[in-house]
C-alpha cells in the first residue's frame, strides 16, 4: 500500500522535479543555464591576491602636488588565477583612517600618479608637505583584495627639473659660443658672414621706392609682440626705418595688434631721430587696422591697390594670409621681401615674393643690416652651435644604428 502510494502520489512530484531539472539542463533554456553556472563560479572563485610592496614617493620634477604610488603585481595578474582586471589606488591621511579612491590602473600596470590640484578650493586639492598613506586594491569579477598600507609620503616641489638637463647644457654651450664670439668681435676680430640675397636687396628696394616717389609698406605679420619673429621684425624695422629716413621716403605700417603699433611707432620715431630727421616722422603712417585675420588682409590689400607701394616687406609671423598679401603685392607690381619662421608659409613666400628670409635668416637680418661687430658675433656663435648640432646628429645616428643607449640617453628630455 505504501509502495503503491509512493508510486501513485509521491512519485508524481519527484517526476515533475526531475523533468524541470532536465528541462533546465537542456538547450531550450540556455540563459538560465549560463546564469546558474555564473553564480556557481562566482561563489566558488577566490578573490585575486593583493599586490605587494606598495610604496608612495613624491613625484619628481613637479610643482609639489603629486605623489607616485608603485607596487608589485598581484600573483594573479597575468598568471595564477589570472583574474585581476584592474588596480584601485586608495589614499588616506592616517594609516587607520578612511581611504578614498584616487584612481584606477589597468591590470599589468605597476604605478599610478596621484596628481592633485594646487588650488586650495579645488575638490582634488593635494597639499604639499602633508603625509598621506596609500593602499592598492586588486579587483576582479566583483571580488577584491587590499594590499598593506604604504609608509607615509608627502609631495614637495623641486628646485630643479632634472629631466631638462640636456636643455640646460645646450643653452649654456650655445651661450658660451655666442659670448666668446661677441668678445672676439669687440676686440676687433674680423668675422666673415655669408651674404644673404634678401638682405642685400633691402637697400635696392628702398632706393627704388625713393626713385619712384612711392611709399614702402612694412607688414609685421599677425604675431603678437611676445613672439620672437615679431621681435626680430621690430629690430629689422629699426634698420629699415633709418634707411628710409636717410632716403627721405615714406613708410606705411598697418598693424593688426595695438601693442605692435605702439612699439612700431616708437621704433620708427627713434630711427628717424637717429637719422637726424625727426621732422620727417609721421605717426599717422603707423596705425592699427584690425585684429581679425582676413579683415586685416582686406585692409592691407586695399592699401596695396590704392597706394601702389614700390616695396613691400613682410617680416614676422604669418599664417594663411601670407599668400593673399604676397600675391596682391605681386599683382600691384611691388618689389617684395619676405621672411618668416612659419614653415608652412615659406613656400608661399618663395613663390610670390622676390626675396625670402627663411627661418633663422629672419632673426639674423638685423645683424646683417646693422653690420655691428657685436651682433655679427652672435651670428658666428650660432654657426658654431649649428656645427655642434650637426656632429651630434651624425653621432646620434651612429649610436642609434649600433644601439649605444648610453649616448642616446644623454639627449633624452623629460618634460
Amino acid at each position: 500500500m505504501r509502495i503503491k502510494r509512493l508510486f501513485g502520489i509521491g512519485f508524481l512530484p519527484v517526476f515533475l522535479v526531475l523533468c524541470i531539472f532536465l528541462f533546465l539542463q537542456s538547450d531550450f533554456c540556455p540563459a538560465q543555464e549560463v546564469g546558474e553556472v555564473d553564480i556557481l563560479e562566482e561563489s566558488s572563485t577566490p578573490p585575486p591576491a593583493a599586490p605587494t610592496d606598495v610604496k608612495a614617493v613624491d613625484t619628481p620634477n613637479d610643482n609639489g602636488h603629486s605623489i607616485t604610488v608603485t607596487w608589485t603585481l598581484s600573483v594573479d595578474d597575468g598568471a595564477g588565477l589570472g583574474n585581476v582586471v584592474s588596480y584601485e589606488v586608495l589614499r588616506s591621511d592616517a594609516p587607520d583612517g578612511e581611504f578614498e579612491v584616487r584612481g584606477l590602473a589597468p591590470a599589468g600596470e605597476e604605478s599610478f600618479e596621484d596628481k592633485g590640484a594646487k588650488e586650495k578650493g579645488d575638490a582634488n586639492y593635494l597639499p604639499a608637505g602633508v603625509d598621506f598613506y596609500y593602499k592598492v586594491r586588486a579587483k576582479g569579477d566583483g571580488l577584491f583584495s587590499d594590499s598593506e598600507v604604504s609608509a607615509p609620503a608627502h609631495a614637495y616641489g623641486q628646485w630643479y627639473h632634472t629631466g631638462k638637463t640636456p636643455v640646460v647644457v645646450a643653452v649654456l654651450a650655445f651661450s658660451t659660443f655666442a659670448l666668446v664670439f661677441i668678445t672676439l668681435a669687440r676686440k676687433g676680430k674680423k668675422l666673415y658672414i655669408r651674404p644673404l640675397a634678401g638682405i642685400e636687396a633691402v637697400d635696392e628696394a628702398i632706393g627704388r621706392a625713393t626713385e619712384m616717389g612711392k611709399p614702402i609698406l612694412y607688414i609685421l605679420g599677425l604675431g603678437s609682440a611676445d613672439m620672437i619673429a615679431t621681435i626680430a621684425s621690430f629690430t629689422i624695422l629699426s634698420r629699415v626705418a633709418k634707411k628710409v629716413a636717410d632716403y627721405q621716403t615714406q613708410i606705411l605700417i598697418p598693424c593688426n595688434d595695438p601693442i605692435n603699433m605702439a612699439v612700431a611707432q616708437e621704433t620708427v620715431r627713434a630711427a628717424y631721430l637717429e637719422a637726424g630727421r625727426p621732422d620727417q616722422y609721421k605717426e599717422e603712417n603707423i596705425y592699427y587696422l584690425t585684429s581679425m585675420q582676413f579683415a586685416y588682409v582686406a585692409g592691407v590689400n586695399g592699401i596695396m591697390l590704392r597706394e601702389k607701394p614700390a616695396t613691400n616687406f613682410y617680416l614676422g609671423k604669418f599664417y594663411a594670409e601670407s599668400l593673399l598679401l604676397a600675391e596682391t603685392g605681386s599683382l600691384a607690381g611691388s618689389i617684395q621681401i619676405s621672411g618668416t619662421d612659419e614653415i608652412a608659409q615659406i613656400p608661399f613666400f618663395v613663390a610670390a615674393t622676390d626675396y625670402t628670409l627663411i627661418g633663422e635668416e629672419l632673426y639674423a637680418a638685423s645683424a646683417y643690416l646693422g653690420k655691428e661687430p657685436i651682433l655679427l658675433g652672435t651670428l658666428k656663435g650660432q654657426d658654431w652651435g649649428k656645427a655642434v648640432v650637426m656632429i651630434a646628429l651624425i653621432l646620434g645616428a651612429l649610436a642609434a644604428t649600433f644601439n649605444f643607449q648610453f649616448f642616446l640617453n644623454l639627449f633624452r628630455i623629460q618634460l
Binding site: 621681435i231 624695422l237 621704433t267 596705425y287 579683415a295 652651435g385
Partner: protein, 209 residues
Amino acid sequence: MRRTLPIAVVAGVGFFMLIQYFIPREEFETLYEWALDWTMVIGAFAMALGLYSLTNMMLNKVKRKSEGWGFSLVALVGLFLMIFVGLVPHYQESLRYGTLFMDIFEYIYIPIQAAMFSLLAFYIASAAYRAFRARTVLATILLVSAIIIMLRLVPLGPLSAVNQWLVNFILTVPNMAAKRAFWLGVGLGATATALKIMLGIERGYMGRD
C-alpha cells in the same frame, strides 16, 4: 637711466622666464602665470589705443575725402554699429544667437571673411603657375615632386602603389630632413635673438634711448 632701466627690466624678466622653465616649483609657476596675466592686461589697455588710432585715421580720410574714403566711412559705421548693438540694447544677451549683434556677425562678417579666405585657392593657382615653371633644375625638381604629391589622391590603377611609395619617400625623407634642418636653425636663431635682447646688445625694438 632712461636707457639702463628698460634694459635692466628686459634682462631681469628674460632671465626669470629662462630659469622658471627649469624650476618646477609652485612659486615660479605662479609668477609665470602672473606675468602672462599682465600681458593680457596690457593688451586690453592697448586695444583702446588701437581703437583711437583706427578711428582717427578713418575720420581723417573721410574728412579729407582721400582716395577710397567711402571704405573708411563703411568701416567707421561698422565699428560704431557693432559697439552700439553689442553694448547698449542687448548688453546681457549680446553673445546669444538671434540677437542683432550675432546676426550681423554670423550673416555679414563670417560670409565676408569666408569670401576673403576662398580667394586663397585662386592665388595658390597663380603662385603655383609661377613657381612650377621648369626654368631651372631646381624648379623642375619642384614641379615633378608636386605632380607626384598631387597624384596621390588620383586612382592610377597599378601605378597607385608605386606613386604611394614615391609620395611616402618624398614626405618622410627629403621633406622631413629639410623641415628638421629648418626647425634646428629656428631654435638656435631664437636662442641667439633672446640672448641678444637679454644682454642688451639688440635694442632696436625699444625706441628712443
